[in-house]
Amino acid sequence: MTEPARAFRHRHLLGIEPLDADDLVQILDLSESFLQISERQIKKVPTLRGRTVLNVFFESSTRTRVSFELAAKRMSADAVNISGSSSSRTKGETVLDTARNLQAMNPDVIVVRHNASGTPGLIARHVEAAVINAGDGTHEHPTQALLDCATIRKYKGPIKGLEVAIVGDIDHSRVARSDVLALCKLGANVRLCAPATMMPRGIELIGGDETRERVSVHTNLASALDGADVVMMLRIQNERLGGTSLFANTREYARYFGLSARTVARAKPDAIIMHPGPINRGVEMMPEVADGERSVILHQVTYGVAVRMAVLYLLGGPAPDED
């Protein structure tokens, strides 16, 4: 008989912010077990048989959607994908009406991605199903932070005390916000690095005292990378810039903030290189770094499925009060 884990106290996964370190460690530990299922010939366990997972992506995504879909299928749940362009949103339906209609079909889990911050939380208040935030506006992307932490833990051991540099368009990045919260809760020190135009003022206060003491803000790449254990590069998201010019041109950005063989040398010799994808080669990361032996970018993708299986396992059963 296996030891019972501590109860998972949350009904939804809307962000990293409401979780504590024990919650995070529980998900990361579970992910290790689920990782192994994806390596078998029969990549499926019967745990969520007969349960329904709706992947509702109001904003386009391939990697995250496929990752959630595979995670659901490997847990034996039925997964249905709804994308923004094919949904009735284009016919003028409000998000809440869409949510109520989806709920009427009795799903057990609704995975939501939306370009407006807070949409998954709004939906969670109006449906019975468990809601998982798969990225909302510039708010949070909790499963990305979880898979990042799982990858870091795999290569660097315990996260406590690690120096993690996150470089790129922090202002527009929900990944950065979720990563800062998760890494600080687990005891890492985080250096955020961006041109001043891409650094939100007060970002170090995002998690209150928990992050104030652990986050430092840099506008110089070399100082951010100096002695780092982990270097996480963010994509320059042209689609989010909305026509405003936050930097002169991509060549200038690449020169001052891009990760190349030259700049990466400031980090520790055994530092790992991460990127949430998709990579703009030649902008934030040079090919020699992306394809180098310290790059763990594709391992992040592998962990993504395992982490999402773990989250579905914790949230995909009946709501705790029914048990």
Partner: protein
Amino acid sequence: MLRRIATEILERNAGAGEVALVGIRTGGLFLAERLQKLVREIEGNELPLGAVDIALYRDDVFEGLPRPQIGPTELPFKLRGTTIVLVDDVLYTGRTVRAALDALMDYGRPRAVQLAVLIDRGLRELPIRPDYVGLATESTASDSVRVKLTETGESEDRVVLRSRKDP
């Protein structure tokens, strides 16, 4: 008791090709490890040892919180063509064994699966029977049967059968 089971496993599978021990986490795994050691003492050869975690295959995984923690399933040998001796501490309803069989089949197609248990306390709810039994005993659903092993921090090995009525 375990030595007798080890002998029986060897006798029954003599010349039958590959035999491997697979413990059901966590109690069965400790017993499988001990059987492996006993076989080494008796015959001098080493049977491959594996572990299977059945948490994700249980039929009651969502009945009662909290969710079980999941340990790794490790089968460091080829299942195809191998006779698997599944090892558990207490055989009761048979549901754990059913889950373990499903889990095993997802990793491959063993030549045969045999079941070894330390205690058979009866009260089966599924058509499952053991091939090797340390001790068969009668119990009622309100009894509790616990196998305590030094591996789990006990001072000595013992089996405790306790009736709820006379504590």
